[in-house]
């Protein structure tokens, strides 16, 4: 069908690099598009589950984008959503099994949220908006980029919440015992989901005030 352009494009051309890097800052799925908030609130009380969740989402978005992009010319448009869901669901089940096999304790903490990756708007959004109309290699980069953009926010939120809420980082206590003797207390509000929302809000605030491109006219 489309045979206009045949000359070879370098693997990491500026365009492709942009696909990979723009979701990390200026087009971040969480802070700019405000997608995937639900899991960002649910799994970020500690840093470790947040990190494992991020890796899972990166794998699923990358592979789902690649597979759908390979299949894109063979998918009848009317049933494309269900085809996409089958692909995502398969990948999520694989990821779930891998997590259960190798990091059982974290998998138990994440509980239902691994399965709920299927409903993560970021993945469906990228499939619909990008993979259905792009070649496999750019789709793969786009998937990885969006996964990383999601993951960075999760890990940052997880770090802040664990540090102030539990006094530890990655499960290791970092707040010296002397602080507690002097009257310091862990902030119980950090463990609750509302604080995750407020932290994401603060990240959005900082990001917008540093990037003029993100200013909105009202």
């Amino acid at each position: 069908m489309n045979t206009v352009k045949r000359e070879k494009e370098p693997l990491f051309s500026p365009k492709n690099r942009k696909l990979l890097l723009s979701p990390i800052n200026l087009n971040n799925p969480i802070t700019v598009q405000v997608l995937g908030i639900c899991s960002a609130l649910a799994v970020t009380a500690k840093m470790k589950p947040a990190f494992v969740m991020s890796v899972s989402v990166i794998v699923v978005t990358a592979l789902a984008n690649l597979i759908i992009s390979l299949l894109r010319n063979g998918i009848p448009p009317r049933i494309r959503i269900i085809v996409q869901l089958v692909v995502i669901a398969t990948l999520v089940i694989v990821v779930d099994q891998v997590l259960k096999a190798y990091v059982y304790d974290v998998s138990k903490q994440l509980s239902v949220f691994v399965g709920l990756i299927i409903t993560n708007c970021i993945i469906m959004g990228r499939l619909e908006a990008f993979a259905m109309s792009s070649k496999p290699w750019p789709s793969l980069l786009d998937g990885i980029g969006n996964g990383i953009g999601y993951g960075i926010i999760l890990v940052v939120v997880g770090f802040v919440r664990e540090l102030f809420g539990s006094g530890s980082v990655w499960g290791y206590p970092v707040v010296p015992a002397g602080f507690f003797e002097m009257g310091y207390r862990n902030n119980g509000f950090m463990i609750l989901p509302p604080m995750a929302l407020i932290i994401i809000g603060i990240i959005i605030w900082i990001q917008r005030s540093r990037n003029k491109e993100l200013y909105q006219e009202n």
Binding site: G183, R185, N187, G188, L192, I198
Partner: protein
């Protein structure tokens, strides 16, 4: 007065555009308008200017808070000495309370005003005076032994997240003082609830439970007398215990027209209605206590007079105010009786209704529009 005016006039050129301290313009402006009513007039359009402006309004609220503050200071000392089985004259108790309460007030004002000034400076706004009241309300809703650093971070949280992110004074959805208290309540539950914190440096053997604490565990017989709960010489947050002192404040607010009597009355009506409803139901001891007990226990009176009437976060329309107030009273009593995790429902019910206030106003306005349209159509037909 004259020398003060002269002094300000002499300093003014340094702070206007191009002056030496141009950057500190809003700081200077804040102090000048604090000391003297500004003489600026609006140049365009038609405006009605009242002689009373926001700073003068806020000062009246602070004055209305003074009875509760002074009683609270005395009560902190009184409860401390009573728990140790000692009785002193007025002044030692008042002095002990001063040592406890004044640091909390200072921390609350310093932190809050520093943030307000920083934001006003960076946004080139005038410094907003809303914090004059919030800074006094925050200490009054704290337990007497609250660590000062907790006061500091809760004040910072309330001013930044509760107010400045929405655009500063007048734009906030939630009452800032209650936001500070809610933050502490959820962040440090062991320092903000239970039986141990309501009396400053309490003796171990002495029970420090508040009336609400007694009711929570079903000890109706241990409730203090009605008279004690009304006068307020019982354990509790610094400013909330004395219904009498709060009523004096209410009179000041209503007489000057600053606090809405409609809201206060409807909150009381809502609380009484819910209490009576529970009396009819009456399946446990808590439901059977006289309905008017709810008005004199815990923070109900304080919330009614000083928190629910906050002109920014309350409903604005007349009918909206009745609905808003009534629901605050009902939900407060409902939470008290039904939810064992939250002994005091007043804070949560006011915050909840703060969120709903714009919605209530919207429907009140819409129904008014509909009613008048209907009348107009009937006129056209006739």
């Amino acid at each position: 007065m004259k020398f003060l005016r002269d002094f300000l006039d002499k300093q003014k050129p340094h702070f206007v555009k191009g002056g030496r301290f141009e950057k500190l313009h809003s700081t200077f402006d804040a102090f000048e308008t604090f000391l003297f009513v500004p003489n600026r007039v609006t140049h365009t359009g038609a405006h009605i200017r009242d002689a009373i402006d926001m700073k003068r309004t806020m000062i009246i609220v602070v004055v209305a808070l003074l009875p509760a503050l002074i009683f609270g200071i005395w009560n902190v000392g009184y409860q401390h000495y009573i728990s140790h089985g000692m009785a002193y004259d007025f002044w030692p108790m008042f002095g002990y309370g001063l040592l406890k309460v004044v640091p909390i007030i200072i921390v609350s004002y310093v932190v809050g005003l520093a943030i307000e000034f920083a934001f006003a400076q960076s946004r080139h706004h005038e410094v907003n005076e809303g914090f004059l009241v919030s800074g006094m309300l925050i200490p009054l809703v704290m337990p007497p032994d609250v660590p000062l650093w907790m006061v500091a971070i809760s004040t910072a949280f309330a001013v930044i997240i509760g107010k400045e992110v929405f655009g500063g004074t007048g734009m906030n959805i939630l009452n800032p003082a209650l936001t500070a208290r809610a933050f502490l309540f959820f962040a440090y539950p062991s320092e903000m609830s239970g039986d141990l914190i309501w009396i400053s440096e309490k003796a171990d053997a002495y029970s420090g439970a508040t009336p609400l604490g007694h009711l929570l565990v079903g000890e109706v017989s241990k409730l203090p007398s009605e008279w004690a709960m009304f006068l307020g010489n019982i354990p509790g947050s610094i400013g909330e215990t004395s219904t009498l002192a709060i009523l004096i404040g209410a009179v000041v607010l209503i007489a000057t027209g600053i606090g809405s009597a409609r809201i206060m009355l409807s909150v009381v009506a809502g609380g009484l209605a819910m209490g009576l409803l529970f009396n009819l139901w009456g399946i446990n001891d808590y439901m059977n206590i006289p309905a008017h007990y709810h008005l004199i226990m815990g923070g109900f009176a304080f919330g009614t007079v000083f928190m629910a009437t906050d002109p920014v976060s309350a409903a604005q329309t007349t009918r909206g105010k009745y609905i808003y107030g009534f629901l605050i009273g009902m939900i407060a009593v409902l939470i008290r009786v039904f939810n064992p995790a939250y002994p005091e429902g007043m804070m949560l019910s006011i915050l909840l209704m703060n969120v709903f206030a714009p919605l209530i106003d919207h429907y009140v306005v819409q129904s008014n529009i509909k009613k008048r349209l209907k009348r107009a159509r009937a006129l056209v037909k006739a």
